[in-house]
């Protein structure tokens, strides 16, 4: 048994280690050490908790068993999961944090003595508010993440689900949560507590269903942020520094990522949250593109162009992830490099389904991270590059975003691929991207469309180069 003061110091230390864990991610070299700091912080926090409670009994054994069961499941998932499934894995993990927060809040409500919060029916007002907020945000994180998971996994359609009066319904539910917390504080009645949790689960579902597939980077970041605020709420209830610090870190981290993602799409956070983008409304304004000529080619033509280039920029997008084409792509790049062609990769902030999605996939295919560039760092290079190889990306390359103020994607930062001498565009059809906007690039003089599955096309190109 160690004193409360000493354990508070240890919790502070683990909080600092968590800060260092995030700090490590400022560069890939320091990142592994950062992750180690994170693990160390977690071990300290858990060990200190056991020693603070002291009193080792049979229940301690049970706790360890449950800990190991959960740990084994987690480890198994971590080793088995393919890198392409990372977005849904992260969404799934967020849901677990949310639910854990709800469960801890329920225990604290049922047995407040254990946490020094008073007795049932007479819980300290501040603690009651804190645990209610923790439980409500946790419940929203849980059900919202489940919906995000189902959408990313493809079990649920990625298209937005909207109905009339949706925002009014959400608003009413939102207000009811606050009212229920208010009544709970006045009456200390269990019924208010349970109803508050129930409708929080409901609003989590309602908030995420209207948001479409390509807005998922924002949603995942937002849920990341929520899981942090839920943890912080519980941290206040338990008066635990490690939890408060971590909650604040995670909360602001998720908020920053959401901001970066929104900026990458030039959309306000609220327009994403209100949802419905890319639904029938924006497609309906089709300006008859009266069958402009499109130049299309095959793997042989593409191989010829690439072989005769001296510099190539690869622009990967979600389509590459779907087709699992990253390994084939790296092979193609290796072949090009053997022919002394300079190759780099250009990654748009919102390419893929989560922040950094493309970078992870390229890293998985053994692409060195110093060949992969962000939008701002590479955009000027397109003008003096021979070939841009667009694989699975669409909206993020559309020049319309720079020229047509009427377009829904106007103002979105895009990669200037059209400035290259020639553009190779691997795509299955001419269909518009997520935003429902026709890509002007398809009809340009210097564009050659390669209609095929991304993986198969890349493999064929490799064969033709050799």
């Amino acid at each position: 048994m160690i004193s409360a003061n000493l354990s508070a110091i240890f919790y502070l230390i683990s909080g600092i280690l968590f800060i260092l864990a995030l700090r490590g991610l400022s560069s890939p070299e320091t990142s592994r050490q950062g992750n180690f700091f994170g693990i160390l912080g977690m071990i300290i926090a858990i060990t200190v908790t056991f020693f603070t409670i002291g009193n080792f009994s049979t229940s301690t054994i049970y706790v360890l068993i449950f800990l190991l069961v959960g740990g084994a499941i987690g480890a198994l998932i971590a080793f088995k999961i393919p890198m392409t499934a990372m977005p849904e894995l992260v969404a799934g993990f967020h849901s677990l944090v949310g639910l854990a927060a709800v469960f801890v809040a329920i225990s604290a409500f049922k047995n407040p003595q254990a946490f020094n919060l008073g007795v049932p029916g007479d819980i300290k007002l501040a603690s009651l508010i804190e645990m209610s907020i923790g439980a409500a945000v946790g419940a929203i994180t849980f059900s919202g993440s489940i919906i995000a998971f189902l959408k990313l996994r493809g079990i649920m359609s990625g298209s937005p689900i909207t109905f009339t009066g949706q925002h009014i319904v959400n608003l009413i539910i939102g207000i009811s949560i606050f009212l229920l917390i208010y009544f709970l504080c006045i009456s200390q009645s269990e019924n208010f507590f349970w109803s508050m949790i129930a409708i929080s689960f409901l609003i989590g579902v309602l908030l995420i269903i209207p948001i479409g597939g390509a807005d998922m980077p924002v949603v995942i970041s937002m849920l990341n942020s929520y899981s942090g605020w839920a943890a912080a709420g519980i941290g206040f209830t338990l008066e635990n520094t490690a939890l408060i610090i971590t909650g604040a870190l995670v909360g602001s981290s998720g908020a920053i990522l959401s901001y970066i993602m929104c900026k990458g799409m030039n959309r306000s956070f609220f327009s994403v949250i209100l949802g419905g983008f890319g639904g029938d409304t924006s497609v309906s304004k089709d300006k008859k593109k009266d069958q402009k000529p499109v130049k299309s080619g095959n793997a042989e033509d593409a191989a010829f162009l690439l072989k005769n280039a001296s510099s190539v920029i690869i622009v990967p997008g979600y389509g590459m992830a779907v087709a699992q084409a990253q390994h084939a792509l790296r092979e193609m790049v290796d072949t090009l490099k053997k022919n002394d062609i300079k190759v780099s990769y250009a990654v748009h902030p919102v390419a893929g389904r989560m922040p950094g999605h493309m970078n992870v996939l390229l890293a998985e295919a053994n692409v060195p991270y110093d060949e992969v560039f962000e939008l701002d760092d590479i955009n000027n290079d397109f003008a003096n590059t021979d070939v841009a190889f667009v694989i699975g990306a669409n909206d993020v390359t559309n020049p319309v975003a720079k020229t047509d103020p009427q377009s829904p994607i106007f103002g979105m930062p895009v990669l200037d691929v059209e400035k290259c001498k020639s553009v190779l565009f691997v795509k299955r059809s001419l269909s518009p991207g997520y935003a429902g906007v026709d890509n002007e690039l398809f009809y340009r003089e210097n564009t050659m469309m390669l209609f095929a599955d991304a993986k198969k096309m890349t493999e064929d190109i490799v064969k033709n180069i050799n």
Binding site: S14, I19, L22, R23, L25, S26, S27, P28, S31, R32, N35, G41, M42, A45, I46, T49, I53, S57, S59, Y62, F66, L67, G70, G71, I73, G74, A78, L89, F93, L96, V97, L99, A100, A101, F103, V104, S107, A108, N111, A114, F115, A126, N224, A231, N240, T241, L243, G247, A248, L249, V250, S252, S253, G254, I260, P355, G356, V360, Y369, E371
Partner: protein, 101 residues
């Protein structure tokens, strides 16, 4: 007049938000996916509350309702802790520099 301890915790909270703000802006965009998985792992430090909840009360009756929720929360948080850190490790291992020839 004494200051309510809540204010101290609140100060820590606000300062930590600022620390988080500056630290996260310095994270390189190519590591944003590991950032999400690691923040996910560390937010599972909520297991601290779960352990307290699970071990509360008399040792004769360890499966009171509040204990059960504690145990359930332990499992969920443990999945996240192990899963989150290990998958982050797996991802970070893949980030390699160009080989010097």
């Amino acid at each position: 007049m004494e200051i309510d301890p809540f204010i101290f915790r609140f100060s820590i909270f606000i300062l930590a938000i600022f620390v988080g703000y500056y630290v996260v802006w310095s994270v390189t965009p190519s590591l944003h996916t590991p950032l999400m998985s690691v923040t996910n792992a560390i937010s599972s430090v909520i297991i601290v509350g779960a352990i307290i909840a699970a071990l509360a009360g008399s040792s004769e009756n360890i499966f009171e309702m509040s204990n059960i929720f504690g145990f359930l929360a332990i499992v969920l948080a443990a999945v996240n802790i192990f899963g989150g850190f290990l998958v982050t490790q797996r991802m970070l291992q893949m980030y390699k520099k160009k080989k010097k020839k």
